[in-house]
Assembly symmetry: C2
Homo-oligomer: 207 residues x 2
DNA sequence: GTCTATATTCTGATAGAC
DNA sequence: GTCTATCAGAATATAGAC
């Protein structure tokens, strides 16, 4: 392989993939493809070619394609929280932060070709027997729910007229509205369900 | 073939499959398998053998496996409504009927090995480009939302203290809570999210 | 690179309707 | 007899996993 072809390969790779280890490149590629195409619809050959590793290297790092799904869920959970926290931090008031997770969805739908909640998608593709994956997904959702609870608590504490609102009931409701909004927005390819979720919360909080 | 062997064959077939045409058997089998295993994870050979048709017969009725997904969505939508309507009719009061769709989920989770909303699962497996499927799913959800609206309207009309509740806002909220509850109950394999949805509605309606 | 699985097509045969 | 629907299975091509 000449230097030029190396240059070419590097140039067509996303910046984020340069200099990363084969293992990191594989996981990153798998995340992109699994999310965009789904797990079963993504072949191992595509993962191998797009992550620019040798087939032997792949099977050196992972015993099988199935194992990748664990890393996928783990990685997506990490990303999801990092993204949310970073964006929520931008908001100034407790009210903005409270509605933040829902407001954030809009740009995500437009900028990325959004395909719904990755964890929901995993649950619908894998058999419900894989305890390890289900545990990770449960953990993610529980963390997400706590995140919503925290945002709700801060909002409640700031507003005296909200003092009788139960933060736990609010968090449970938020989680359901949030997931329902994502599911419907994905199917409808419209932000209307997200608007409905916001309206429902405002209604519930009496404002 | 003796009369006895015919008896035997008929007896091992599910009643529902007796006397049905090959086409009907194929669709019925496909519905079962796509729902239980997912679309991509289900091979054409399994569909063919379990529906007891010849391979040529299958391709006589369907140009490809992909086409089956349309009949799958259509059939599941039909079943879904038939099941809901039948069960809701059993309830006596407007209040019971209003919470009926959520209460019904419990037995479904226990009796069938529930794998979440079939339409949600289709959306996560197929590329978002297939307009025909997306249209059917949109139509299903819109009908479902109207169903919730109707139940809400009857409940509101019956109770004077609910007279200021907007049936449309309530229906939007119901749809989101319902879908969120199904998604979470499937992932958690617990009815807690369904209970949360019921609690949220009761809270919202001030009771 | 190898081997398996999958989707699809093709061949030949049977049974009933007209 | 002809036509159509069905069945059984071989043959092919492709894609997949390893």
């Amino acid at each position: 392989m000449t230097d030029w072809s190396v240059c070419f390969i590097l140039s067509v790779m996303t910046n984020s993939k340069i200099k990363k280890s084969p293992r990191e490149r594989i996981i990153e590629t798998a995340c992109d493809l699994f999310y965009k195409q789904g797990f079963h619809a993504t072949g191992i050959n595509q993962i191998i070619s797009e992550s620019a590793v040798a087939k032997a290297s792949f099977y050196d790092h992972f015993p099988s394609k199935d194992e990748l799904i664990h890393d996928y869920v783990f990685e997506m959970s990490k990303r999801d929280f990092a993204d949310f926290c970073a964006e929520i931090d931008e908001y100034d008031t407790a009210e903005e932060r409270f509605y933040g997770p829902l407001h954030i969805l809009g740009p995500w739908f437009i900028e990325t070709d959004y395909r719904g909640c990755p964890f929901q998608n995993v649950v619908s593709e894998i058999p419900l027997k894989d305890e390890r994956i289900l545990e990770m997904i449960k953990k993610h959702r529980a963390r997400e729910r706590d995140f919503f609870r925290q945002l709700g608590k801060e909002y409640i504490d700031e507003r005296s007229e909200l003092s009788d609102v139960d933060p736990d009931a609010l968090a449970d409701m938020y989680e359901l509205l949030f997931d329902g909004a994502i599911a419907n927005a994905t199917a409808y390819r419209s932000m209307d369900p997200v608007e409905s979720a916001i309206a429902s919360l405002k209604n519930y909080l009496g404002r």
